[in-house]
Symmetry: C2
Subunit: 447 residues, 2 copies
């Protein structure tokens, strides 16, 4: 009898799990299910559709239906998993017409995360949005097309700012409100965040940090928000204060959860119940620097999780290596990236650090069009190892983050980085690579 | 008495040596000398001035004269070192007016390299150029301004092609002739070189590979070249068949030379004569993969050499870590980079390899403006370690080369790279980083 693999979810982690499972076991019966009417689309692309960079929401659908056919994957849309029975090895599912039970040999839980909406007074009003699904994006798009002229985004993290920028690009007078006294608090240290903050203000975004929204104002429909005594009128509110792992179903089935409520998984991405795997935004990882559980809800982690779980669920053997939280984004013409621990998280983990930061150019100084870039390294004092990097610049940030990510993963010391062999050509870089010079600066503090 | 440091040379390696020496010893008397009338300029920028990307040749001068004053460096222009006496510790120098001896405590030889001109019949004719100095560049620029309409570049390596492209950009009908049956033979394997070759032909460059120039034709002035029986008429010939380490002075002084005639230097960049250092294009390095002597004549290596020698010459202690030959260039809108060993050099060093190559996009597939990129990895079979990488693509090539360079330096296995944590955002990269996918492909060949 063919192996039956059920995957609850049908986005990044789930689809990559299904593909890896199919490659491992040609005959397995693989079923994916999603509560949504779209599957396998890139949530990360939503702000860029809103901003007009990508023409249509449906462009975000990475795999066409023919792909699932070709890979012989059963994909169930608008279907909710209502119960998991780990003894009987069945998943109870509910679609428009019926409730039934899917038997499984291996189960992969890819239930993702849901937007966390803090208990702000008035959050239920018409005109208050979140950004998680294509439908969420379409609602905001419609509000703009219906004439919204101003917006308040609650949350100055990655998604909040990406959406705020999209709204500015669409012509809305936009204000971002962030409770923590800096933008991108999970990604950047205060000094690096300041560069981003200043650029965004220059581009016309109003940013209020260190204050929360006290109330969302308006009758039935939102008309404004109240922030530290100030009333800001707005046609639109977007709440982007993070997401929470969607684990209700797993918990009900006796599957253990851990860090920040995410499902506990070992290096094979297997939960405490043998044969049941957890992947993506609902599942824990191990941080490669601290060795401790972490919850990194990024697409790259989701697909890496999915691949490992898919191989294991199909009878293969694969291990997940851990996370650094390497991430990057583009705000207008500025690229912002980070990997590993920043100073704040290092301190919180009890790690004594020194840092090295340096501003340079993206091309030879004399080459027309050379643009600014700033690199900051976080170095563990004891081992002299690089444990984090943050970069804000006009180009070539992503792959520098990858270079630092490789350095961290391979336990490179700051001394080794200061002597590294790097590539150079006048139209593409400076002779002395800024990462190398930042290492030199950090090294001097260690002497 | 202050320490006397003499540096023969005044470009990349020499100036970085002087700066490092000054930082190490505030009171040292530091003298640099150059036979040229310009010092401390970027030779790498010459083709980009010729092509019109950089306005003036003098823009390539990285440090103004005020810099040398500020750093208290004595810089002698148009001055030739005619003899080194390692017993008496003096350098005999000759300028326009006099011959004299400079005593030294530490000597740094940064005599660079000179263009190697193969013994082609007719190479002495008027209209035959090399590209090494600002004066060389100015002569070619003048020939174009004087009405040259066509050119033949002998040599399809990095400099040859950079110059050929500049000539195309200036409107000259240009042909490149390369003896080896591919372009960029020192940098790329045949499969990757083919991508570059095809793109260059599409851009209007004629490329002849696998054939040499039999004769440069013309009376006093060049009128054509003869290549495998074909006569190609041309107004201009540029010979770019590599450079040779300039070691005559060193050899005369009894300083040992080694690989490809370059000056032997230990990890402190010190020659067989204590207190005498050698840096830049005239000095050997150790290849980080093979552990064997190598001669990598790149600006990045020169400045790294210079820094180490400068510290040591001034009484400090620094070690050079070795080279991978990481290099990159930009041909029209294509970026081309390589690091470590390619298949050819691995084989020559007796290393059994597998490779993984993959074509991908520079942004999410659905993001408008996503451009092609191809990554090739060379993996040592025995250790499964990455020992080389080659990338041809439209953007973000340089820092991927740096990322692979870090991976090679840190002995990353292809298995580790296949599981690496990388950064992603739709406008900046694909979810699965092509370097990671190329590792996956190589890994499959090892199973």
């Amino acid at each position: 009898m063919p192996r039956r693999i059920v995957i609850i979810g049908a986005h990044a982690a789930a689809v990559d799990a299904a593909v890896a499972a199919r490659k491992t076991d040609r005959t397995a019966e693989i079923t994916l299910l999603t509560t949504e009417k779209h599957a396998g689309y890139s949530r990360c692309g939503l702000p860029f559709v809103l901003g007009g960079h990508i023409p249509r929401f449906k462009d975000l659908i990475v795999f066409p239906q023919t792909f699932y056919k070709m890979m012989k994957l059963n994909l169930l849309y608008k279907t909710t998993a209502t119960n998991i029975d780990t003894e009987a090895k069945t998943v109870e599912i509910q679609d428009k017409t019926e409730k039934r039970k899917l038997p499984y040999d291996s189960l992969i839980i890819a239930t993702g995360a849901f937007p966390f909406v803090p208990p702000i007074k008035g959050r239920e009003k018409h005109g208050v949005h979140v950004v998680r699904t294509i439908e969420d994006g379409q609602k905001i798009d419609k509000a703009i097309k219906d004439g919204a002229k101003s917006a308040v985004v609650i949350g100055g993290g990655l998604i909040g700012l990406e959406v705020a920028i999209a709204l500015v690009e669409r012509g809305l007078k936009t204000t971002v409100v962030e409770l923590i006294p800096q933008v991108l608090p999970a990604m950047l240290d205060t000094d690096m965040a300041k560069l981003v903050h200043e650029m965004l203000e220059q581009k016309g975004l109003r940013i209020i940090v260190g204050k929360g929204v006290d109330e969302i104002l308006g009758e039935e429909k939102v008309t404004g928000v109240s922030v530290g005594g100030e009333q800001i009128s707005t046609d639109l509110v977007v709440i982007a204060t993070g997401v929470k792992a969607n684990t209700e179903l797993a918990k009900k089935a006796g599957i253990a959860t851990g860090f920040r409520g995410a499902i506990k998984a070992n290096a094979r991405m297997e939960t405490n119940v043998p044969g049941v795997y957890a992947v993506g935004d609902c599942a824990e990882s191990i941080n490669l620097v601290t060795g401790r559980p972490a919850l990194v809800q990024l697409g790259t982690v989701a697909v890496r999780h999915g691949k490992v779980a898919g191989i294991n669920a199909a009878g293969g053997y694969a291990l997940f290596s851990g996370v650094l939280g390497s991430g990057v984004t583009k705000f207008f013409d500025m690229e912002i990236g980070a990997t590993g621990l920043n100073e704040f998280f290092a301190k919180r983990n009890g790690i004594a650090t020194v840092t090295g930061a340096l501003s340079s150019k993206t091309k030879a100084d004399y080459y027309p069009g050379a643009l600014p870039i700033r690199v900051k390294l976080v170095v563990e004092k004891e081992s002299q190892r690089i444990i984090g990097g943050q970069i804000v610049g006009s180009e070539e940030v992503t792959q520098r983050i990858n270079a630092l990510s490789f350095a961290i993963q391979m336990h490179m010391t700051v001394r080794e980085l200061a002597k590294a062999d790097t590539a150079y050509a006048p139209p593409l870089s400076e002779t002395w690579e800024p990462m190398v010079l930042a290492a030199e600066i950090a090294l001097r503090k260690l002497r």
